[in-house]
Symmetry: C2
Subunit: 472 residues, 2 copies
C-alpha cells in the first residue's frame, strides 16, 4: 500500500474547491431538521437544493422523491461503459435539531470556517459527507478524461435519517428497480481518528422488543400473599438474569449458532488499532468494562452479538415503600446480531426461551418492534472493499485500517432489499460532535474524502472488470 | 374444650345489647377518615365520643391523647386486686375513606342493620371490634359481681391506623409508663371463617427499603457501548434473581439462622384448617401458588420469612423501543420476618450480600425505611394465649383453632416498646369488606366477641395467678 498521497486528482479539486465550499455552506444554511414539523419546508428546500446541485454537477437525472415524511433525493449518471458496475451512494440531507442556546459558539445554521474546520449543524452528519461526492466526481472525470463516471453512479440521499428513517424501507422497496446496483457506498459514518484512516466493514443487526409478564390481576398485599404466589417483578428479573451466563455470554440455547467468529487476522487487526480503554470509557460515560469473557472491548462492541436490557419496569417506583406484589412487569430488550445470525431465528429462539422459563400463574407476551435489522459484514478480501481501501490509501497516503460499527442502521435495509454488499466511506472523526453542539468537519479530512471518492470509481470499475462479485 | 357456649355472661349482654348497638351506630355515623384532612375534625370528634362512652361504661380514666395527626384515646380501670395482671386493649377509631359513589348499597356513614349484619364503614375495621369491649366489660362485671375488672384494664385506641400509624411509635414511647402492662390484646384482626373461630398467634416482621444501582453517568447507546459496559438494569435483575434459589428459598447467607421452625404440632394445626386453595387464589387475585418448597401456602404466608420485590425500575418504559444502556436502576424490596429473626441482622446481611454481588463499574446504595418491624409470635402453650383461647371457646361453644397473620403491624410496636406478649382477639371474617364497599360486621360474631371479652378478664386473672408469665 502506498504511503504518500496519490495526487492525480488534485488539480481538479484545487480548481473547484472554493466553489465546493461555498455551495456546501449554502446547503448548511438550510435548517433541514426532520424531527421538527416546523422545519418540514426546510427539509423540502434542502432536497430541492441538493437535486439542483447534482444537476449542476452533471447528473442527467436528479429527482426529489416524496415520502410520507421528508423527501429523499435520487440521482443517476450512467457510465456509458457496457460492463461497468453500478454503485449506489447513500447519505441523508436532514439534520439533528440545533440552537445557539444549546451552547453553540455560533449560529448552528451559519457555517463558520475556522482553524481548518467548518462548523455547522450537518457539517459532518451528513451534508459534508454527501457533498464530497460532487467534487470527488468532478475530479474523477477530470483525472480520467471521462465525460461520464467509470461506474453507473446512483445517489440516494434520504430526508428522515435523524428521525429513525420511518419510511426508508418502504421507499427503497418501492424504487428497488431504479436503485438496483452491485454495491452500496454509505457515506454517513466515521473513521477511527484524524491520524488513523479506517474503513468500516460492517454493522451489527438488531432484534428488539418487549416482554410483558402478568401475575395477580391487580397489585396485592405482600404481607398477606407475598411468598406464596408468583411475583412478576421477580420473574422478570429471573428472566433477565438468565439471559447471560457467568461468563457474560448470552445463555439462550442456539443463540451463537452460525455466528461468524473472528479470524485470527481480524482479531490481530482490531488489536493493532490504537485503542485507549480509559478514553473509551470516558466516551461511554462508564466506569468499568464488562462483557463476554474472552473478548476485548472492541470485539465485544463490533463483532460479538449481545443481549441488552433497555428497560425493566414493575410495581411501585415512587418515594418510600409500598408492600405489594406487583400485578405486572415489562422488559424492553434488544439483541445486537452479527454475521451468521438470522433475525427471524433469533426472534423464535428468544420467544421459545421465554415461554420455557416462566412458572405457572405468570402469563406472558413477547412482542418485537418489526422484523429486525440484519447484520452486514463485508469480508476483508471482498473485491469491492479492496477497491475502497485502495482509493482511501491513495487519498490519505497512509495505511488504511479496519473498524466495524456496533450499531445498526438503514445500511442493512439497502443490503437486504438490494441484495448487494454495503461499504462505508466516512471521513468523520469522534470529535466532530454529531448530535451535539459545535458540530464540525475537519477540512483536511473532508478533502481527503473528496480524493477518496475521486479515486474510488475507477478503482471499483477495475476491480469489477477483474473480479465481478456476486450479490450479497 | 367445651363445645357448647358458656352463657354465664348472657343476661347482662341481653340487658345492654340494644343500647350497645344504638351507641355503636352513633359512633359509626362519625366519618373519622384519617386519610382526608377535611375529616380531621371528625377524627377528633370520634375520639371525644369514644372517651365519653368509656367514661359512661365506668372507666375512671378516659383521656384523648393528641398526636401530630389524629388523636388517640386512652382509658384505664384498675382492678383493685393487688396481684391482678395488667392488660392493654389495642384498636383504632379512624376508618378508611368511603363514599356512596364507590358502589355502596347505602350511605357508608349511616349504619344499616339487615339480615343479621350491621353495614357501615368501620363496622368491622375497627369500631365494632373496639366497642365490643364496652359491653364485654359490663357483662364481665355483672357475671362476676365485681365493681372493677378482674384485671387492671387499659385501652389504647389510635386515630391514624388507616394512615399507616405515622405517630404511633412516638406516642407509645412517650406514654410507655402509663401503658405498662403484662399483655396486649389487639382487637383489629379477623377469624378464619364464620363457622371456624380462630385466634391469631403472631404476625410477621418487616424490613423494607430500596437498592439504587448506578452505571453509566447517563443513558448511553446500546449499539455503540452495549455488551461492553455494565448495565444497571441487568445487574438489578441479577441481584433480584439471586435472592431466591431454585427451591424458592431466600438465598442470602445467614437469612434463616435462628428462624423458629414450625413444630410438627403447628404444621398439623395449620393443615387441619379448612383451607381451599382455589378460593384463596381468587382472594389473592392470583393464578397459581408458588413459594418456598416443602411448605404449604399457609405456612408460607404465616410462618416462613420471605423476600419480596415490590418494584423494579430502570431505563426506558414508554411505547416502543429505545436502544439504550440505562444509567441507573432502582429496586424496592421487603423482607417478612418470623420469630427468631432480628431486623438489624437482616438489614446487615442484605447490605453485605448486595455489596458482594455487583461488578466493578456499578455503584450502589442500600436504604431502609426505618429500623423495621419485629415479628411477634406467642407460643401455643403461653398462659395468656391459653386464657384467650378458653374465653373464646366458652363464647363460641366451638373448638378454637390457630392462625397467624402474614402482614406486619403496630402490634409489633406494642410488643417492642412494652416488652410483653401480644394476643389477638378478632371476630371479623374475610367477607367483612375491610377497605372495600359495603363493609359490615356479622352481629352474631360481634356478640360472640362481646362474650369472649366478657369471659376473658377472669380467665386471664386466673391464669396469671397460677402461672405469671415473663415479659416478652
Amino acid at each position: 500500500m502506498r504511503t504518500t498521497p496519490d495526487n492525480a486528482v488534485q488539480p481538479a479539486i484545487d480548481e473547484y474547491a472554493a466553489a465546493f465550499l461555498s455551495d456546501l455552506k449554502e446547503w448548511l444554511r438550510i435548517p433541514s431538521v426532520s424531527a421538527d414539523p416546523e422545519h418540514a419546508p426546510d427539509v423540502r428546500r434542502s432536497a430541492e437544493w441538493l437535486a439542483e446541485a447534482l444537476r449542476r454537477t452533471g447528473f442527467p437525472v436528479a429527482e426529489v422523491w416524496p415520502t410520507e415524511g421528508g423527501p429523499a433525493v435520487f440521482a443517476e449518471w450512467p457510465s456509458g461503459e457496457p460492463d461497468a458496475p453500478t454503485v449506489l451512494v447513500y447519505g441523508h440531507h436532514d439534520v439533528q435539531p440545533a440552537a445557539r442556546e444549546d451552547g453553540w459558539s455560533t449560529d448552528p445554521f451559519e457555517p463558520v470556517e475556522q482553524d481548518g474546520r467548518l462548523r455547522a449543524r450537518g457539517a459532518a452528519d451528513d451534508k459534508g459527507q454527501v457533498f464530497l461526492h460532487t467534487l470527488g466526481l468532478r475530479a474523477h472525470l477530470a483525472a480520467t478524461g471521462r465525460t461520464a463516471p467509470a461506474v453507473n453512479l446512483k445517489l440516494l440521499v434520504e430526508g428522515e435519517e435523524e428521525s429513525g428513517s420511518p419510511h426508508f424501507g418502504a421507499l427503497i422497496r418501492q424504487h428497488a428497480d431504479r436503485l438496483a446496483c452491485d454495491t452500496v457506498i454509505v457515506s454517513d459514518t466515521g473513521m477511527w481518528a484524524e491520524d488513523t484512516p479506517t474503513v468500516c466493514t460492517g454493522m451489527r443487526g438488531l432484534v428488539d422488543g418487549q416482554v410483558d409478564l402478568f401475575g395477580p390481576d391487580q397489585d396485592i398485599h405482600s404481607g398477606s400473599f407475598g411468598g406464596a404466589v408468583p411475583n412478576p417483578a421477580t420473574e422478570a428479573a429471573r428472566l433477565v438474569a438468565a439471559l447471560h451466563d457467568e461468563d457474560r455470554r448470552v445463555a439462550i440455547t442456539g443463540f451463537y449458532d452460525g455466528v461468524a467468529e473472528l479470524t485470527a487476522r481480524e482479531r490481530e487487526l482490531f488489536a493493532e488499532l490504537p485503542f485507549d480503554e480509559a478514553a473509551w470509557l470516558r466516551t461511554a460515560r462508564s466506569h468499568a468494562a464488562l462483557g463476554e469473557h474472552g473478548h476485548s472491548t472492541l470485539e465485544r462492541i463490533w463483532a460479538r452479538p449481545t443481549a441488552e436490557i433497555n428497560g425493566i419496569h414493575s410495581g411501585y417506583g415512587g418515594p418510600g415503600g409500598k408492600t405489594i406484589v406487583p400485578a405486572a412487569a415489562q422488559i424492553k430488550f434488544s439483541f445486537r446480531l452479527v454475521a451468521g445470525q438470522d433475525t427471524a431465528r433469533v426472534r423464535q429462539l428468544f420467544t421459545d426461551w421465554v415461554a420455557e422459563r416462566l412458572p405457572e400463574g405468570v402469563r406472558h407476551e413477547v412482542r418485537f418492534w418489526g422484523e429486525g435489522t440484519r447484520p452486514c459484514l463485508t469480508p476483508l478480501d471482498h473485491p469491492a472493499l479492496r477497491s475502497l481501501v485502495r482509493a482511501m490509501g491513495r487519498a490519505f497516503g497512509q495505511e488504511v485500517r479496519y473498524t466495524r460499527e456496533g450499531g445498526s442502521g438503514p445500511a442493512a435495509d439497502l443490503q437486504d432489499v438490494l441484495g448487494v454488499p454495503v461499504l462505508f466511506l466516512g471521513i468523520s472523526v469522534p470529535s466532530d460532535g454529531w448530535h451535539s453542539v459545535d458540530e464540525k468537519v475537519e477540512l483536511d479530512l473532508l478533502f481527503k474524502g473528496v480524493r477518496t471518492a475521486a479515486h474510488l470509481w475507477q478503482e471499483l470499475a477495475d476491480e469489477w472488470a477483474a473480479t465481478p462479485w456476486p450479490a450479497a
